[in-house]
């Protein structure tokens, strides 16, 4: 076939199509105008969603990627547009989300001259990307795009930035696309070492109290079935990290709950009682481990991870097993002896009863007239048959949503774990709805976080994205207020908020909504919200000074978990 000459801008779009892109979240502007001009002819193949801010585009791409497993794509201009995506890129880096962010750049001849909207995007994004590259001539576009998508989705996924100068978008060249199958300096998936698998299996076989910690690695490698088989064969109780939520269904008998600072009590304290700790695709974040000097010191540690840099980073592994969970779990399962750990598992349930009495009962069945976040979330979880995609913002709403939602389907919790980005919820929920159009998407946000990216209501209106937005309104920056109450002598320094009429704002965007002030109105409002697939804003005024318990205070050991008054 004769090679055709096309512009760099067109080559960019063609290259993305070759990579299977069908959705782009973006915002046009000066240095990316040629690419947007080319995009104008592709409205049949590519669904471009115009967000109201580039940060929204980045979080939407994350939400899309997290529910679909596909690479999220952003297309924005240079300078302020590029810097506006930085929060989303950082978030994707810490949470291993595959994403390609394409930024326009001034013409190559102007680089380094402080030209209008010129900023060193590669320099800014190198610390927060898997790869960042500047394309200065059209011929490099097919190669760089192929490489970008290959890097973003393979191995431990992550964000990639491509910065394309304006001249490269205009230039014409003979387009030819070759997908990338390997890069010599990059080993995405380490080979499984049978010796380490054997060492790990021996440890697990000899364990009296084995205990598994499940992270996002299981979801990323789609190893949910392999995980189940592994746990069932040796009867191993398993807890999940925030990003590992929904890797096991809530009602899976060996699922013992949520780990971490606001996780369940048993999963935290049992970490210091097990004899073999099996970490699966998780990275021992400080929000999970608390004080490392007092973390699982009695246990032998088996660590399954794709990333060699995670091994021994925070917790020393006695048996590190590199590879994807999809490969390593079956290899390990094959060597396991069937076992029963009934008493050990029962000991988790005993602790659960205490947590129910001291924490959960009050949250789900409050005696006060004031509504709690937990009861709202549980009602919505039930009303959606626990099948919804739950997207959260950051803070109390996030921890409550993770705790009180139930999960049936993998990839059902989209949340900003590593970076803890307030303002993530609304745009991420839009992306999640685009990535999983046939699922109900419920977003939980606080009154603070919602106002950080509230302008995305415009995107929801224009695209008619059926996101079910729930603001758990306590007129406070709740999590910060909780810390002020617990650790700063109730000095509520700048955490109380006077809020707008959120429902009226939604109405201005022609989005239906309702505000719930009394418990009696809640069920009807939830039913109204879920009656169709249209966008909806539900504002629930919850108790002003609610607390998320239990809590492992920062720097404390996992056994020093606080249950509240």
């Amino acid at each position: 076939m004769e090679k055709q000459k096309i512009t760099g801008a067109k080559a960019l779009i063609e290259s993305m199509l070759k990579e299977g892109v069908d959705t782009i979240f973006g915002y046009p502007g000066g240095a990316i105008m040629p690419a947007f001009d080319a995009l104008y002819d592709y409205d049949k193949q590519l669904n471009h969603i115009l967000t109201r801010h580039e940060q929204g585009a980045a979080h939407a791409a994350q939400g899309y990627a997290r529910v679909s497993g596909k690479v999220g794509v952003c297309l924005v201009t240079s300078g302020p547009a590029a810097t506006n995506t930085v929060t989303g890129i950082s978030d994707a880096m810490l949470d291993s989300t595959p994403m390609v962010v394409i930024t326009g750049q001034v013409g190559a001849a102007l680089l380094g001259t402080d030209a209008f909207q010129e900023i060193d995007v590669v320099g800014i994004t190198q610390p927060i990307t898997k790869w960042a590259y500047q394309i200065r001539r059209a011929e490099d576009i097919p190669w760089a795009v192929a490489r970008a998508f290959y890097i973003a989705r393979t191995g431990r996924p992550g964000p990639v930035v491509l910065d394309i100068t304006k001249n490269a978008q205009f230039q014409e060249f003979e387009f030819e696309y070759k997908p990338i199958t390997h890069i010599r300096s990059y080993i995405p998936i380490p080979e499984v070492d049978p010796v380490q698998v054997k060492v790990a299996a021996d440890l697990i076989n000899s364990a009296q109290r084995p205990y598994a910690l499940v992270g996002q690695g299981v979801l990323l490698s789609e190893a949910e079935a392999e995980l189940k088989a592994f746990l069932e064969k040796a009867d191993i109780p398993a807890a999940w990290t925030l990003l590992g939520a929904s890797a096991m269904p809530t009602d899976f008998p060996l699922n013992v709950g949520f780990l971490g600072m606001h996780g369940n009590v048993a999963p935290n304290i049992k970490t210091n009682e097990c004899d073999v700790l099996i970490a699966i695709g998780m990275r021992f974040d400080d929000r999970v481990t608390g004080n490392l000097a007092k973390y699982a010191k009695q246990a032998k540690v088996v660590h399954l991870d794709i990333d060699p840099a995670e091994i021994n980073k925070n917790v020393k592994a006695d048996a590190p097993v590199l590879g994807t969970a999809k490969e390593t779990l079956p290899a390990l399962t094959a060597l396991l002896h069937p076992a029963k750990h009934t008493e050990w598992i029962e000991s988790f349930r005993e602790v659960d009863k205490q947590e129910f009495e001291k924490v959960i009962k009050r949250e789900l069945h409050p005696e006060s007239d004031e509504m709690t976040m937990g009861e709202v979330i549980r009602k919505i979880s039930e009303a959606t048959n626990h099948n919804a995609v739950v997207v959260t913002d950051v803070g109390q709403n996030q921890m409550m949503a993770a705790r009180y939602s139930n999960y049936n389907i993998p990839r059902s919790l989209v949340t900003s774990g590593g970076l803890g980005t307030m303002g993530f919820g609304l745009p991420a929920a839009m992306g999640a709805k685009v990535g999983a159009p046939h699922r109900t998407v419920v977003m939980y946000s606080g009154d603070g976080g919602f106002q950080m990216t509230i302008q995305e209501l415009g995107t929801i209106m224009q695209e008619q994205l059926g996101v079910k937005m729930v603001i758990l309104n306590n007129h406070f920056l709740g999590m910060v207020r909780q810390w002020q109450e617990m650790f700063f002598d109730e000095r509520y320094s700048f955490t109380e908020m006077q809020n707008p009429d959120f429902v009226a704002i939604a109405k201005a965007y022609r989005i239906n909504g309702t505000e719930v002030l009394k418990r009696e109105e809640l069920d009807a409002a939830i039913a109204d919200m879920l009656k169709d697939d249209k966008p909806y804003l539900l504002v629930v005024n919850v108790e002003k000074k609610g607390m998320v318990y239990p809590m492992v205070p920062a720097g404390a050991s996992v056994t020093e978990i606080v249950l509240g008054e």
Partner: protein, 183 residues
């Protein structure tokens, strides 16, 4: 934990911004680079970085893995001085008049294995090759006796005492998996 001097060796693609990719990993942990030397390696298209840093073994383990993880890095590892043959080069400029004032310079040259690179009415430039301690000793001596007008020391270059470079293992592995390596 014991802090000592570690030498990090990095093989990388020769791409723009590579040094930044490496230094950001040190910056995050507030590690100071003592010396740095970069040059093309024996393999065409691959660059070699030699970086020395005072740190602990625990930190080195983690930092080297985080460097190795960067896409354009082929291989990164660390060594202590015992594993390495290493060398630095230093240049010293002194006043000709003051140098001649010392009387004979034969002793100085023999003792320190100095080479004279340039000499004119006003100044003399010496070169000394050696370990840091050795080039520093000469500097201290000269500076006390006649003063040093200008002084510069290179970053460390180093070679491991073991037979093969670890990069060869990695490249061999890639060839085995994917066939012939393309640049």
């Amino acid at each position: 934990m014991e802090t000592k001097l570690y030498t990090i060796t990095i093989f990388s693609e020769n791409t723009v911004g590579l040094l930044n990719q490496i230094t950001i990993i040190f910056t995050r942990r507030a590690l100071n680079i003592e010396t740095l030397s970069v040059s093309p390696s024996a393999i065409k298209g691959i660059h070699k970085f030699t970086i020395t840093i005072f740190s602990t073994q625990d930190v080195m383990e983690k930092v080297v893995k985080q460097i190795d993880k960067r896409i354009d890095i082929l291989k990164a590892y660390y060594n202590t001085d015992e594993d390495l043959v290493h060398q630095e080069i230093a240049l010293y400029k002194v006043s000709t008049e003051k140098l001649l004032g010392l009387g004979s310079i034969e002793k100085l040259i023999r003792e320190h294995h100095i080479q004279i690179l340039e000499m004119n009415d006003s100044s003399v430039v010496f070169q000394k090759i050696g370990h840091y301690a050795e080039t520093q000793k000469l500097f201290d001596e000269l500076n006390q006796s006649i003063g040093v007008l200008q002084f510069i020391r290179s970053g460390r270059v180093a070679i491991t005492k073991s037979k093969v470079e670890r990069l060869s293992d990695m490249l061999g592995e890639i060839q085995r998996k994917f066939g012939k390596i393309q640049e």
